[in-house]
Point group: D2
Chain length 493, copies 4
């Protein structure tokens, strides 16, 4: 009858092989905790672990420098280590000032990869991090980019454009030419670098093999560039993989929206009136979560097809203006701007909660709240603020208008991110494999359906799901191969 | 204080202007009842009624002969009268031997349109009806076809092929060349007509402007023909309109699957173990309905993406063979064949229920049941049979293996059919409008998204839904017009 | 390779041993169909079948005359045959003019039991049936009553009261003394019999051992009588068995409300706005069904606790008057009167649907509709009427304001009725067993919890459910016996 | 265009009027944060705030010393301040070693009330806190107790019993006489005090007016004492108020179970197989939450009625032993012991999660895990441990087997606790008001239904719910007063 040995997770205290100049994270002492959570996440991310097993020996990313601009969370850490196991040389930053999990960042640095990310960056720091993640120690840039929202891609395209203008007539980017606070910093970053290295971005573009993009917003930007003819390298649209957009966007948000609201406010969802703005994939998952929690859930939507889908699920479809004074919680999922404005918030119930799980912090009129004299900002705790109006009523804003599931909770859970990131990994391998074949031009591509099905297949076993198999006679009856792919490209799932 | 006047629905007893030779329905005395139900359905079908109002005066289908092969139900009757209001000259038959609602058929004949359909046709009668619906009184054929499952299209293509062979070398189709009972009748029908009019189908093809097809199965057949280059006229794929496939297939079945099981068997769904074979659109709606009714719901699926979706909704994914002896109800939704075989049914619980809501009667092994000595067939009531196995246990088969929602209940409800049929109407108008423009070749087309959105828009008001409108600034931010279309073609809803 | 033998269900065409004077049903030729449905229902009613097996040999009801006034459906037929198997001598009538299933009634008569019931009785016929079911061929009355709603009990109590008054001073009941149409008929029935047999009801009361009552309404009446001291025989309250009120009332209605609406109107429930009046057990099941079908569901409620429960499930709680012009469907479940009045219906949307699943036809103001000049009543089909108001808009009323699940569909499904009726059977056996013991006085009793648990236990196997067993240590830890009962009397489930 | 003034919540830094000897909390610097969260919770607790308004001026608890042993959370803080506003003099401790929210405790001390509680007490500290909370500065005890689980009541009863034994023959309690670690400490606590004050507990009992108890477990203990005749003072059973047991237990757990699992593990619930042990009120809420999150949810249950309810909601009912090797998550809600044993855990999947939301830490075999050589305990973070078995697989145990919603998240949300605590407040006021009337003997009482309905009523407005009112005619029809109470005592809701 001996005693149980209780021990804490062990990790090298000594730290990391990354030189101090080549990383910046909040607190390296969190590395052990990060590693402990990574070990749990690995069990929840069967797709990534399966790729390590399948491709680890072949190192299909050997020789590839991969830069990532994607929420530096525990799940991303498993992605990073998968890419590394496949041979990549990596540098990473976050794509959101609040989304880094500091223990995950520390664990990755401890294991030898350069990370520039911490929870609660200023905007200046954010763009500094992005810039640093793009610059290998030898001064060169990446071969491949993993982008989320398109900020890394934006910086490169703007840098490239500025260098052309500069070469032509010495034009220097003018940060004061824009009102957009973030774009100002993009221009400043480029401006600061121009004198030192006026060909830096041009060289980076020359080297770049391609980007794989994670989000609706980022893909939208890429498609616009491709349409204008200004896209500088091939792009793979990971967002529109079925196993991404119909999983991460829907089921990820269904999980992380209530998680974020609960951690931030501890408010009971049952019985509350909740307005979800937007009934796309993110809105569908969000609305389902609120309904499931016992909230009376309303939908605001501009697209009549999505609106009719909301009706069919029993949701009342109504514009925000008609109910803003009756709702307890408003969540934006639109991917658009100007959804909840300061004047809307002025009409809301006391302590009504406002959060964004769609896109940037301009879905909610943060600028209006911050810049109106007479509105007081009171911090309850980090990422949770009461904005008190002159009449004494207040609204509670989550994550300063940025993605509340990342700002107030830990983002999407590992399992659903494993689907998304398995697609990311396959996209990176594909781009690198075809780097000289000419298969990909400066356009936006999606992965073939057979890979999408593979990603799904890799995740079924963990859930105890067992597939039925087509007989050859059945396969021939519906005109497919017994092993798939099973559906035409236009199929909507 | 006078008495209430109670009166029954009035309709012309005198009947119809259609000559007796030009229709065949079960019972013309049902016309009044049919008209009463039509008047209720019209209120539930706002899309069709809106098109009557919008286009009724212009008669965009004036001069068009439209043949329909589509379940002759109350809802279809509202479609027929909409096409008529838009100017069409119509003939109709059903596309399923059990799906006709006899009162609807009678009401349409009473109002002056030729219908050849009744509930409970034999297969011989079915193909006779189809053939008759294709033959106008002057001997000519239709300009346009509304097809459901592709049987009208099949008959024309086979007729055309036979006439070419006959013209070449006098070959006559040989019904005994096939084991398929239905195809035998197709060949017999063509064979019987050949001597009389050896150019009938060729002339019909010459005249035909196009077909609009309602179902997954029918579209699948059309695409195969187009791929082989054998498609004889343009086709519009109505099935893949979002407002069809994501509404009718999903929400229609969610309504009509429990309706059919309840009317057929009165069995309590709560607590039962139900296996849904297939988790496509039909399967999704079916599974949601069974879960909502309190059944423990399991899914059998071959496609790993659909299987993973099922997992995310909490369904156990498992092959039929693993649970066939434990389930109380099995529903097939696959669009494939040989899903529940006689040997499976031999292992089922006593009085287990088997039904098909997917496709043809070969999803369930009806042939095996009917042709095995020792298995007794006992009719409980029409469309509900117990097949008693030699060991004394029985299975209850709905609608003789054909679509149970049509055979045992009244099919999909009016509102969701209004979405589908508004698309059908728009497709017919489009084909007729472009009949000489060359816009449509012998290929398969889908309607533009803007029409899909229009269909949705026409159905929102009835449900009290109110859309939000984009500001021009918001529209420009996401790169669309304020009035739509709002999504890229690849969007999955 | 012999052919399958197809045969219809066999039953003695010759009919029944019941003399023609001792039954009245719609159509004895339906007996075979009734027997076929009974054979299916038996498989779905494991509690009753288990009691047949457990007690059939002992005949615990031998010598007991049992009169039943309870919806003469297929499920009730299985109850009747169970009571018969246990030794009872039975006569039966329905407790609702629309609820009889004529094939079930015929099958029971064919098997030798007197039934007076058919679908669509007039009120006069209804009370005639009740009266006849109370009179055995020898002129005597029953020993035991199975009552549903308390009509048989009412007639006996009123008869007894009238006989006392008549004996005292020759007073004859005066039907014109009441405005209530039904009560008028009760008095008339008693008045008609008084001259012939002025001690009939007194003798009946003398003989009566007790009644078991099925419903909330009937129990309410019994408790009032007991409180006043006017109850003439013992009563067992079956309604408040957990396995009745929390099963039949909740899950039965969850099943049969959508079933009734669908069969009556074929209207799509998804997207509709439905107001459920009352959130008791029936209301809870009804609301859950409507929500599950995709309807936007609202609740009207007077009890703040039930209202708060509705809120916690995400329902909007709002009075009928506030939304009557916006709802598509209103369902009453209150057990109260005057819930939807004529003036409310005057404000409803065209073709709005109104139905009652709670109680009597006075939940809906049928009298107002029927007796107002200018409101026209149009029959769509039996039990489905449009009442057209002078302004042209109409409302659709189901089952003439009576229980729509019984009037428009087939009532609750077998499985849940098996729970209720197993309790009924146990109550009848208990009353008869204790008929001379003095255990039951003229009061209202409930069955002991251990029988309630037994009823549940008898229904688990059919659903494949497997109970966990308490260890004796666990049982002792929570202070119960390992085999139950497991909960205190006050437990609410 | 002035700047927004950003300020943090203000609170007196100076601290508190409570002498240092009369409180012990983790960190007084958290008081401001606690006050900020209290101000949010107050808006979510309308019942308590309404009582402050209704009774605050009258001070109905003036003169009453109230001791509380109930999770020292933000919500409890609002209860404490309500009791204080009503006149009470309070001392408080937590009833669970992990459930204190340190910022709430600090805020209460800062506002002048003695609290002895912090998150992560040892068992020794726990009983020290309880003992201290029972001892006013003058050495005397409380007039009233608010108990949760019955620990304060236990200590007093054991103390009283020991003093009688001691007075009789000098017997001293012997901690070594029990194997139960906690009971050992109870005896030790009493033993330590006996020499100093051998009449302390006797005097405390003399003074005590009564206790109001929050939980099923505590009520169970009280009823046992009352049955044995050993209860020393009156008790009000708050747990069995409908607005407590059917709200807090069901809806509270529905909220806080997923919250606790998410915060502890970030694991995706969708697709997982979850076994809920017990389908009582807590189990019902827990199962609903897991199903709503997309988990495949199974139930283990001993009571056949509850099991049949689970079946009716579509849950598979199956013993733990049959599925322990297939489930991803097991949650205990039974209120019993020995539910998940070490040998069960030995068979579970790697990283399977085990948590308790029912009762004490003996639902899960923590003793077996902690005391078996070869099982290693690894701390991922506080309240989240991996227990690694010799074969290398591990299970993740939440909150060391104690209530995971309190240990890993913040317990039930404010709104539902407002229902429970409004009942608590009414119970305290009732006990104090009737302290000399003899209304309450040493027995267990429940609050009258009219108060239960009042509690519900006070919570409707916040949710925008609007009650329907009975007309006097309707009230009389169903035999109630228009203002309630509306239901018989036996009604189950």
């Amino acid at each position: 009858m001996g005693p149980t040995v209780t021990e804490t997770v062990t990790a090298t205290k000594a730290g990391t092989t990354v030189p101090e100049s080549e990383y910046k994270v909040a607190d390296m002492s969190l590395a052990e905790f990060g590693r402990a959570e990574l070990s749990i996440a690995e069990v929840e991310m069967p797709g990534l672990m399966a790729l390590r097993e399948e491709m680890g020996a072949d190192k299909p990313l050997a020789g590839a420098r991969v830069m990532g601009s994607l929420h530096m969370t525990v799940q991303t850490a498993v992605l990073i280590e998968t890419l590394k196991e496949l041979g990549a040389d990596l540098r990473w930053c976050s794509c959101n000032i609040f989304s880094t999990q500091d223990h995950a960042a520390a664990a990755i640095v401890a294991a030898g990869t350069s990370v520039f990310a911490w929870k609660g960056e200023t905007l200046e720091e954010y763009w500094w991090c992005t810039n640093r993640a793009l610059s290998w120690a030898d001064g060169g840039g990446p071969d491949l980019i993993v982008d989320d929202g398109g900020d890394a891609t934006l910086l490169i395209h703007e840098g490239f454009k500025a260098e052309i203008a500069y070469a032509k007539d010495g034009t220097i980017p003018d940060p004061s030419s824009t009102d957009n606070a973030e774009f100002k910093l993009v221009l400043q970053t480029i401006k600061d670098g121009l004198p030192t290295d006026p060909k830096r971005w041009t060289k980076m573009v020359d080297r770049l093999v391609g980007v794989s993009e994670e989000t609706t917003t980022g893909v939208h930007r890429l498609i616009e560039r491709a349409r204008e003819g200004s896209l500088l390298f091939p792009a793979i649209n990971v967002n529109d993989c079925v196993t991404k957009s119909k999983f991460d966007n829907v089921y990820g948000c269904r999980h992380s929206l209530p998680d974020g609201i609960m951690r931030a406010t501890d408010v009971m969802l049952a019985g509350k009136t909740v307005l979800i703005c937007g009934y796309g994939d993110v809105g569908k998952g969000s609305a389902q979560a609120m309904k499931a929690a016992g909230a009376r859930t309303l939908i605001a939507e501009v697209d009549p097809i999505c609106a009719l889908q909301a009706c069919m699920e029993g949701f009342q479809v109504i514009p925000l203006a008609d109910v803003i004074d009756q709702v307890d919680i408003v969540i934006t999922t639109t991917g658009n701007k100007d959804i909840v404005m300061k004047d809307d918030m002025a009409r809301m119930k006391n302590n009504a909660i406002i959060g964004n799980i769609g896109h940037f912090d301009n879905e909610i009129d943060m600028a209006g709240l911050e810049n109106t004299p007479g509105i007081k900002k009171v911090e309850i705790k980090p990422q949770v603020h009461r904005f008190v109006f002159p009449d004494g009523h207040a609204v509670i804003v989550l994550a300063e208008g940025r993605l509340l599931n990342l700002g107030c909770a830990t983002g999407h859970p590992s399992f659903v991110m494993s689907c998304s990131f398995t697609n990311q990994t396959l996209a990176q391998v594909e781009l690198w494999k075809e780097r000289t074949s000419g298969k990909y031009e400066n356009n936006v591509y999606i992965l073939p359906k057979v890979l999408d099905e593979k990603v799904a297949r890799l995740h079924l076993g963990k859930l105890g799901a067992k597939l039925t198999e087509l007989t050859s006679s059945q396969a021939s009856y519906i005109g497919v191969k017994p092993e798939g792919p099973f559906k035409p490209e236009s199929y909507r799932y």
